[in-house]
């Protein structure tokens, strides 16, 4: 694999950029691996990468039913943050954020993680108190957080509505300066290239159709490209976790819901960081290409359709205009939807299952993208040691039965409300 650097690109300029090889191989599946990761999105690829890099497991395969990063990795709004209140989430997402900070160098692939900040707006004193509770928890957990007043918010994002006509005037906000955005596709590609270079077989167009389970332990999978043996199998197929888990006879506390995302036509710099509206469900940032990337609430019903509907689109328009009425004449260029694994407490599930050797990584709700490196890191640890790392210990599947929910919103067991 040729190393990426400004020099290699300059050199390529003199030779028509013809010296580049494949970023990752396109191997045929072998009959047996030490471990198989189902799902070639960010999480699956990160798991394989860290398994190979940190745990010495290189005889492993990533099985992807379509193209790499074609699920939620390529369908999200690219936000990275760790502004969580509850300890299980805070430690996990902060671990992930730290990995993000070094990811481009680690992978030798620029994933364009840009720490321009994530600002949650507050529109009442009660909301400020709720954010303060979260921000104070973040600080005590060693995570950066700043409480901004109205004037500080105005300086951070002057295009927001500070006029008298705002239905819910901005009171202040909670800023995580180290949060930001990354280039979603690049994360999948960089991890694939990294994992491949360590010997991992990345197999696209290979759908898992069944599990081989004997005596309560997993022995392999059936796929559209034949049976493959492995005694350690990790599922990282968020959006379709219930479907894949059902092949192993598991029922999970997860529902699949639609989340739509939108991008505008490209513009010169308009808004710097990520801003979330506190009086509705709306968040917005600007990509490096110039498009405003925005999204909001779930469409509100179980779905696997990967396409949303008009009521939510209209709703997003209302929310956007309420937050920043200058976007009225900016045009929305594309909208699409991803299928979210909505868990029953709004937090992810990363750990063991009742079947020996079968591991679960899912239930990401809206939080999957930012978790990518952290998720792979702790999942790799869990698979390699057959035990969770302390960082994902409380994000286990058994917590629902035991009543140890990690419910950041306090919304209860209604997946669509998280």
């Amino acid at each position: 694999m040729s190393r990426y650097s400004v020099f290699s690109v300059l050199k390529g300029g003199l030779t028509g950029q013809t010296h580049w090889g494949r970023a990752w191989r396109d191997p045929e599946p072998k009959p047996e691996y030490d471990a198989i990761i189902i799902g070639g999105g960010g999480h699956g690829l990160a798991t394989a990468y860290y398994l190979a890099k940190l745990h010495g497991m290189t005889n492993i395969a990533v099985l992807e039913k379509g193209w790499l990063g074609g699920g939620n990795t390529g369908r999200n709004t690219t936000i990275v943050r760790s502004n969580y209140m509850l300890e299980a989430n805070a430690h996990f997402y902060e671990h992930s954020l730290k990995l993000w900070e070094g990811l481009s160098v680690d992978l030798n692939y620029n994933v364009m993680f840009s720490q321009r900040g994530v600002l949650n707006l507050a529109h009442s004193d009660a909301q400020m108190d709720a954010y303060a509770r979260r921000g104070n928890a973040m600080r005590l957990n060693g995570i950066d957080a700043e409480l901004l007043d109205r004037e500080q918010v105005r300086r951070y994002a002057p295009v927001l509505d500070f006029s008298d006509s705002a239905r819910f005037p901005i009171v202040g906000g909670l800023l995580q300066p180290r949060g930001g955005t990354a280039r979603h596709d690049a994360v999948a590609w960089g991890l694939a290239r990294g994992a491949d270079s360590l010997g991992v077989d990345i197999i696209q167009n290979c759908e898992v159709t069944g599990f081989d389970i004997q005596g309560g332990a997993v022995k392999g999978v059936q796929t559209t490209r034949g049976a493959i043996k492995a005694e350690k199998i990790g599922m990282a197929v968020a959006g379709h976790t219930s479907q894949v888990a059902a092949l192993a006879g598991l029922t999970l506390p997860i529902e699949s819901h639609l989340l739509q995302a939108f991008v505008s036509e490209p513009l010169k710099p308009f808004i710097d960081g990520v801003v979330t509206f506190g009086a509705g469900h709306f968040y917005i940032s600007q990509s490096d290409k110039g498009g405003l990337v925005f999204g909001g609430d779930l469409d509100g019903y179980n779905s696997y359709a990967q396409r949303g509907n008009l009521p939510l689109i209209e709703h997003l328009g209302e929310e956007g205009m309420a937050l920043m009425p200058s976007i009225g004449r900016i045009r929305m260029l594309r909208h699409w939807a991803g299928v979210m694994d909505m868990s029953m407490d709004g937090s992810p599930i990363i750990g063991k299952t009742p079947i020996k050797g079968l591991y679960l990584n899912g239930g990401w709700c809206y939080g999957g993208f930012k978790a990518t490196p952290g998720s792979g890191w702790v999942f790799a640890h869990t698979i390699a040691h057959d035990e969770p790392h302390w960082i994902n210990r409380d994000l286990d599947l058994a917590r629902f039965r035991d009543g140890r929910m990690v419910d950041e919103r306090g919304a209860g067991p209604i997946p669509g409300h998280h």
Partner: protein, 1004 residues
Amino acid sequence: MSGNQPNRIPDFGRIGRDEPLRFTFDGKAYTGYKGDTLASALLANGVKLVGRSFKYHRPRGVFSAGVEEPNALVALREGARREPNTRATVAELFDGLVAESQNRSPNLKYDIQSLNQAIARFIPAGFYYKTFMGPFANTRLWMFFEKIIRKSAGMGTASGEADPDRYDRMHAHCDVLVIGGGAAGLSAALAAGEAGARVILVDETPRLGGRLNQDVYKIGDLSGGEWVEQTIAKLTALPTVKLLTRTTAFGYYDGNLIGAVERVSDHLPEMPVHLPRQRWWRFRAKQVILATGATEQPLVFGNNDRPGIMLAGAVRAYINEYGVLPGRRAVIFTNNDDAYRTALDVMNAGGAAVAVVDARKNPRSTLIDHTRGKGVTVLTGHAVVNTHGHFELQAVDVAPIDGDGAARRLDCDLLAISGGWQPNVHLSSQTGAKPVWNDKMNCFLPGTPKRPEASAGAAAGRFTLAAVLSDGHARGTQAAALTGHSLDREVKLPRVDAETPAPSEALWEAPDPATGHPKKFVDHQDDVSADDVRLAHREGYVSVEHLKRYTTLGMGTDQGKTSNITGLAIMAKLRGQPIPAVGTTTFRPPYTPIAIGAMGGTERGQHYKPRRRSPMHDWHQERGCEWIPAGLWDRPRHYPLTPNETLRQAYVRETKQTRQSVGICDVTTLGKIDIQGPDAAEFLNRVYTNGFAKLPVGKARYGLMLREDGQVYDDGTTSRLGENHYVMTTTTANAVAVMAKLEFYLQAVWPDLRVKVVSVTEQYAAIALAGPNSRKVMQKIVDIDLSDDAFPFMACGPCHAVTDAIRARLFRISFSGELAYEINVPSDYGRFVWDALMDAGAEFGIVPYGLEALGNMRIEKGHVAGAELDGRTTADDLGLGKMLSAQKPFVGKTLAQRPGLTAPTRKKLVGLVPVDGKTALPNGSQIIELADRDKPRPVKMIGNVSSNGFSPELNTPIALGLLEGGLAREGDTVLVAYPLKNLYIPATVRNPHFVDPEGKRLHG
């Protein structure tokens, strides 16, 4: 000639030559005509350079005559109405139009960033993935370069000012929705309309007719244009047909719902006060006909992006629709017959057709013969391999396509290109009908419909006029029949000359010239070249989606309308696979970009969300209260006596006066649910944790509700007004959700219970009166005996308020811990009764108190509220464990017993006071051990402060919080931590019942 419009051709076009319109582009003044687009007017004035490309800042001109335009993007209008990235090809000209070019500095001609062209070889697709990293494992280097990249990326500049215009929303139902008003759409609408179906026809342009306005056709004895006019007249005469122009159907959604945006006023110089700028339509149709036409595809060859290179069909459009000849000497480069029309039209308009360069080796058709017969040189088996010129095209190099034979240079100022036509399958594809590749026609055709829809005309791959008209008619007839409408007579379609074009042959990329390797652009806007596609292939980004995402192919404002197919085809060739094996591209909505303002419609500013007000709202306002939002409600927060009185001074004063004498508070926002039926008692017994079956008539009881998962859901008092009649109160925040939940239990889970529930929150004004003098005040306005014996604590009952005409409900309940009452009266009487109570209380110095004092008094009493009921607490956490009945099952009981919800380590309700007796313990604080203050983070959080206030009686700030160990730690000192403001306050743990812990005052 038209004076200062050198390229305007006399007697051509459908423009209003008697209505000249003035406009400016980059500050320079020009004149066009009514009916022009900005692009046609610029071309008429000989303006060729109109924009710069995204990455290399190459000079670009008008490329198309429609929505597919990748190059001619301008900022339209000024100030708050500035509209960036507007396609000049669809912007209608109006008098006084102001447009500015984009993505250049300092100006269009001298653009500093055009230097990027010089380093183009060093910045191939995806170069940024390989650079700007390290050397250290942080994001600094990237963020440094990112700033520069962000500035040079983007295209237009947004105004940043609030959009001053209005947007409207409309809903419409019809039998048949026809999308597209060209030959097929008009024909379909006429067939369906004459059959009696309710028809709506929408077209994105201002002028119905589609290509009939842009090409020279004969239909029967009429010209194409005359047929269009005649058909419009027939349609207009039909009562069930509605025609909407300037209306883009942008998306096809579930339930056969089509979203569309009508540009009502965008073509007018000023926005009329009575009209919106745009109107958002939801069309719900029984049958949909997609007569969306086709988009001409370009050809890819060296330097194929110079101003003066245009789609062949666009050249005909400018000639025939706008009366503009974009160049004097035209070369036509094609792989199909259709472009030959361009040669003929150019000649007809007075220009010269230098040559037709046809990539096909041996095409034969009457049209080709006819063109040759007009004296046009036809070079078959040839391709344009390079072009010359900078700000405008000057010549092209033409060479045999198989690579042997020298290039020859043809001088020209216009190159019309055609790679064939691609049906606009966007909308059908959005329904999940996967487009099907057709190898003979070299295009995708619509897939098998998944909805009640059918494609017609060019959208269905029918490219001759005869086929288009008969297809439209057939589809229209069929759609009408499917909705129960048919015509009882034969319709004779007009006679149209048969066309027998020679088949097109795929040519996705022309060969390189003999010397040099010029850039061949696939995606003009984003500067994606054929080499970029090859690089993506080389690096393994070979699936369509990887190709698009890696190179940004098709990601521009034109959404790849003229680049996706070519890019896909080049990749297929590189992979040695047929196109369908490589994939189809996803046609994501919207079809063309839509204004976010139109998405939002009318719900702007104060209309974003309704505002709920109590019947006493005006009184509070008159009294000068400060408001606080509570969900959608406005509630008085406090009533400052003077402008200088602070919030704390005010609520402490209100608290004191209430506890010493009497206070009055508007509690209308609490949810009120009327519950009636023989099984009402049983129902309440199931949904509340505590028993309600034995609650006597005339008594109220505090009730606690859990969620099914065992955590606290809501609380409130429920009163038994009659044997089978209760009224429940909920918290303001949960009123809606609790109501829905009760309905669910009754309808879906326990349908056997004979109980009905109805929300009466807005039917009653609710007024609380608290304080030792509250009885005396209340007694003055009600007609029942309020003595402690007659109406003891927790009594409730009907009465009259002020007059016999006002039937009221009185409750002796207390949130403040004082002797207190709550009276509910019909909303219309709320203000009247409030005034009466104020009068009655005047002699006692009655004080209105707001939400802040209300909260303060409940904190003094250790009562929990929203901040404690945060969805993560159990009854035991809140000190309410004794309310969980052991005698009966109730919702949530089973799962509340799980180990995680009963663990001894859970945080439990405590009271807190600052050790120094002075420093407030702010809401949102966390609690840590004193010893952890300076330890490295993370440190363990043992609790948090949920609510805080100030107790005048104890003369100290007080707070409620949740703390590990709960009251077992009574007397301990802990650290209330607010690191966001660097506040660390030692506080003493104590019982949360700060005031009157025995509750004597309630019974006073």
